[in-house]
């Protein structure tokens, strides 16, 4: 029971970090139709922006805000400077995937060239630790979980109760129809890049805080977990991504507690494949056929 509680706590932290990243990723994909594999690279670049702010003597929480802003700006520029021109020329979805892979390498190795290849850590305390049963969480981890809940609630409010959110949903469902209904889809898409970019930046810092130490390539494996969470929930489905993140986060940590930790990703992805085998469109995705 102690081991289970401990791994449940770890799983919640992992799921929280993953949820922030996966919701941003899946919203971005759903509204813009770009499977942006450079998402992980933007995350880590934003984490380094926060590191620079932190090294300048400011709190990491200031760095978090700076990283969110940098993620938003970077993502808007990435779309305007790279993806939109390709889309305008009629690039196919697979071409866009290759383009985003190229951008991943450019951003990741660009970050590495500037920041160096060695790992770095934020100057921050973990705060007091709370233990209950086998569950052990630090104050920072509680903040990460809280931040994730806040992001999920914010996303829910945005999509359900705001004009922008409704426009985003309409654009995601059918861009041409939305445009014919008077929605300025180009503007919606730009705002989507900004919002999801901010989430990406936020996720980068939270990821780095959770990992404790990070380098320019740290999100390589994490990107695959983001993809897994997003597609498990149903591509483009924000609520699905939340659910997917929770399942993947808990599955990796709980399986690690009972089997050797080396297999924790294997177990998570076997579960993912099994679930996609039964529901190819994801848990909350639209049924086809």
């Amino acid at each position: 029971m102690t081991i289970f509680l401990a791994s449940l706590g770890f799983g919640l932290v992992t799921a929280s970090v993953l949820a922030i990243a996966a919701v941003g990723f899946t919203l971005q994909f759903g509204v813009t139709d770009v499977l942006n594999l450079a998402y992980g690279a933007v995350m880590i670049a934003a984490a380094f922006i926060a590191y620079v702010v932190n090294q300048a003597g400011l709190s990491i929480w200031v760095g978090l805000v700076a990283a969110g802003a940098a993620g938003a700006l970077g993502s808007v520029l990435l779309n305007a400077g790279v993806y939109t021109p390709f889309q305008r020329r009629g690039a196919s979805p697979i071409t866009m995937v290759i383009v985003s892979l190229g951008m991943t390498l450019i951003i990741e190795f660009g970050t590495q060239a500037i920041a160096g290849g060695t790992s770095v850590s934020y100057s921050m305390g973990q705060g007091p630790t709370v233990s209950a049963g086998g569950l052990v969480l630090s104050a920072v981890q509680f903040v990460v979980i809280g931040l994730s809940v806040l992001v999920m609630a914010g996303t829910h409010v945005l999509l359900r109760y705001t004009r922008l959110g409704k426009a985003m949903r309409a654009t995601a469902a059918n861009r041409n129809l939305a445009r014919n209904c008077g929605i300025r889809t180009a503007r919606v898409i730009t705002l989507t890049w900004a919002i999801t970019g901010a989430l990406c930046g936020l996720a980068g810092v939270v990821f780095a805080m959770d990992a404790g130490s990070f380098d320019a390539t740290s999100t390589d494996l994490f990107l695959i977990m983001i993809l897994a969470a997003a597609f498990l929930g149903g591509p483009g489905q924000a609520y699905g991504a939340m659910l997917g993140a929770l399942i993947i986060g808990l599955a990796t940590e709980i399986s690690a507690a009972y089997i050797t930790p080396s297999y924790k990703y294997v177990i998570a992805f076997v579960a993912l494949l099994a679930m996609l085998g039964m529901r190819p469109s994801g848990l909350l995705g639209e049924r086809t056929g």
């Binding site: 959770d210 130490s213 483009g236 507690a257």
Partner: protein, 444 residues
């Protein structure tokens, strides 16, 4: 919103392949095109290639070796160079992965004029690149302790570091000195780290200690909470570890969190003696907490005397000039790669002068001649002094900050070990020595 499953699969596979497919290299200094190793035109630069990880989990190793290269070549160039040639350094990034290392080395041979020596070749990539470099008839000083090089003869391979199994024994000997009884192992899943495990397990048994748990750390994972929990649950007195990059600092932080705010004592390998490692670990758990709980084995190096004076002057003159070097630069004075590759470069440069050739197949035997030398040969402690002695025709023996060398028939010259700690400011302290008899007692 529908997306073909095939596209998803392609994306995931492509994403997963990112790490494996990326290679990069960069050049420091200037090289003169057209200069061949065997017959380099007068005045053209001779290139020393640092083939090592500059990115990935072991990224701290490349800059450590590059610092020694910059230091050695600056001193050699200040003394007039080698046979009228200045020396420059080039970095070749292997990413610590054999799959990236082989193409990087092939590219190095295809694109580097005046290449005269290779340094680096760590355990991460040595098994795959040493045969390639040897096939190109290029001399190399490698920082690998892999035992497969103990008994296989590569004519162009030289090594100034002991086999990894001896380093495993050294870690166990440190645990003995500190009176630890239960030991947890936590090594990275890279080749270079995994090689320590079996010798460590057998040495622990020989020493009468208990193996509390053996955890393998995936260097690409972002948390090790489960591994940390398992280690804490096994109640070890100390953890022996080598998981470079962000892995060890993350593990230390998570152990501290899950262990009521206390670190468990750690015994690291000599690879942990680097400014980058100290910076990451100290940031993860706090410098005071880290230094109070950390010991590492390290090869014995001199900390005073004429050889050390020449070495420290040369190395410290390059502070702020070495790409990728971060943290307290003086740590490189104790880093095994920093010291022994400095010696390796000096030995090779002196061999070139003695052989009157920059061709490795010609000057190679003279590395042994200068390193071992004949009885009665005059000992010299710097490139400048040894080069002057060679030019005057007297028999000389180079003895650098890594101590005297004694190459065997496989070109291995292994040193003895000391015990290092850090001070909270990041300086390295030598707190003990390990006698050869102690290591022999732990060997299989």
């Amino acid at each position: 919103m529908k997306f073909p499953v095939l596209l998803l699969a392609a994306a995931v596979v492509a994403g997963a392949g990112l790490t494996a497919c990326s290679t990069s290299s960069s050049t420091t200094g200037t090289t003169t095109p057209g200069a061949a190793a065997s017959g380099a035109p007068n005045g053209s630069a001779l290139v020393i290639a640092d083939v090592a990880p500059f990115s990935g989990p072991d990224a701290a190793l490349g800059p450590t070796y590059l610092a020694s290269c910059y230091g050695a070549t600056s001193a050699i160039n200040a003394a007039g160079g080698v046979l009228g040639h200045p020396l420059t350094c080039k970095s070749v990034d292997t990413r610590g992965d054999p799959a990236d290392a082989v193409p990087a080395v092939n590219q190095m041979f295809a694109s580097t004029s005046g290449l005269s020596l290779v340094i680096g070749c760590t355990s991460d990539e040595a098994a795959s690149v040493v045969p390639v470099i040897n096939a190109h008839k290029m001399a190399m000083f490698c920082m690998t302790g892999q035992s497969e090089f103990d008994n296989v003869h590569y004519p162009y391979f030289y090594r100034l570091v002991p086999p990894d199994l001896e380093e495993s024994y050294a870690m166990v000997a440190i645990a003995q000195q500190l009176h630890y009884k239960r030991i947890a192992l936590a090594f990275g899943n890279d080749i270079g780290s995994q090689t320590f495990i079996q010798p460590a397990i057998s040495a622990l048994a020989k020493a009468g200690m208990t193996l509390a748990t053996n955890q393998t750390l995936d260097l690409h994972a972002t948390t090790f909470r489960t591994e940390a929990t398992a280690i804490i649950a096994s109640h070890p007195d100390a953890i022996m570890t080598e998981a470079l990059g962000s892995a060890d600092p993350t593990l230390f932080q998570e152990i501290k969190q899950l262990n009521g705010g206390k670190m468990i004592p750690v015994i690291g390998t000599s690879a942990a003696i680097s400014p980058a490692f100290f910076k990451s670990a100290a940031a993860a758990v706090g410098a005071t907490e880290f230094t109070a709980n950390f010991h590492a084995d390290n090869l014995v190096t001199e900390t005073s005397g004429p050889a050390y004076q020449a070495f420290s002057t040369a190395l410290l003159s390059q502070q702020g000039k070495v790409p990728g070097a971060s943290g307290d630069f003086t740590t490189y004075l104790s880093a095994p790669g920093g010291v022994h590759l400095y010696d390796g470069i000096n030995l090779a440069a002196l061999a070139m002068i003695k052989a009157k050739s920059t061709d490795p197949s010609v000057y190679g035997p003279d590395i042994i001649a200068i390193g071992n030398s004949a009885p009665g040969a005059k000992v010299c402690y710097s490139f400048a002094a040894c080069a002057a002695a060679l030019k005057s025709g007297s028999a000389s023996r180079y003895e650098g900050p890594g101590g005297p060398t004694s190459f065997d028939s496989f070109h291995d010259s292994t040193g003895i070990f000391q015990v290092d700690t850090y001070s909270p400011s990041g300086q390295v302290n030598v707190v003990g020595n390990l006698a050869a008899s102690q290591l022999r007692a732990l060997s299989g």
